[in-house]
């Protein structure tokens, strides 16, 4: 996660940043679950939809690596090619957990 960029993007907007951290913590496991179910059922549009939302929110939170992984998953869903999907979703799971950990650290230090 690019902390400098994140703080620049949310300059004077710390309450909003805290709110978004909460949203991310709530929606990421749900959307990852959607991706996994899509992979199990061979449902490309479902993978693409959930991965697209993850890509959008992770990019807004200055997490380019996680957003890129979500983007790759989105493309695999759109193409209906699931050979790398399992590996990608595991990587995304780890990367988004790391983003969440960094965000928690950051928000602890924020004086709202």
């Amino acid at each position: 996660m690019d902390e400098t960029e994140l703080l620049w993007r949310f300059k004077n907007k710390m309450p909003l940043l805290l709110k978004l951290c909460g949203i991310l913590a709530e929606q990421t496991p749900r959307l990852l679950g959607d991706v996994r179910r899509g992979i199990d059922e061979g449902d490309g549009p479902r993978i693409a939809r959930a991965a697209h939302t993850l890509k959008g929110s992770l990019s807004q939170m200055s997490a380019p690596i996680a957003a890129e992984l979500a983007g790759e998953l989105e493309q695999s869903g759109e193409a209906g090619v699931f050979s790398r999907s399992e590996i990608l979703v595991n990587q995304l799971d780890q990367e988004s957990a790391e983003v969440q950990r960094q965000l928690n650290e950051l928000t602890k230090s924020i004086d709202v």
Partner: protein
Amino acid sequence: MKVLVAEDDLTSSSILEDHLRDWGYSPIIVSNGREALQVLKTPSAPDLAILDWMMPYLSGLELCQAVQGLNKPIPPYLILLSAKSHKPEVVRALQAGAHDYITKPFDPAELHARVDVGRRIVQLELLLGQRVAELETVKQLLAVHPICCSCGKAWHNQHDWREPIDSGASENDANVLHALCPECYAKVSSILELKSLRAA
């Protein structure tokens, strides 16, 4: 000014809502294309809309096309928001009816500037609409042929009062307006004045 935000990602819609309020706009948030179209169909619909490309039921692209089909006299200014940043996608969006395009993650200052451009264009279009309506009124007034109901003279070429034969207007003309020429007006006024003095 009201701004419609159609975005299914709660992170992006929360950021947009917060910024728009800071910039003095009144955001209306919906989470899919169908709801957005419903809002845009109402008589008091926002003049400006920020639409996500990928949304449930109706995509931002389809929404742009649907809005064009509404044939509003002053169509809303549409900014399409998307993570898709390739040139062909930008072209597709603009061809579908979007007025502007911005990629996610957006830079708040850039978005602010683009939303303000949209506001200025909407205001100019509203002003233009008012001016056209005013011109229509003037055109209607120019088409009116006033005829003096006392002496029968007609107002000629927006210039002077002439005998009806010269004016091109007749009593049967649909645009005839019964009036008093200045000469007859003066006569009538003096008679009325005299009458009121006698009565007193």
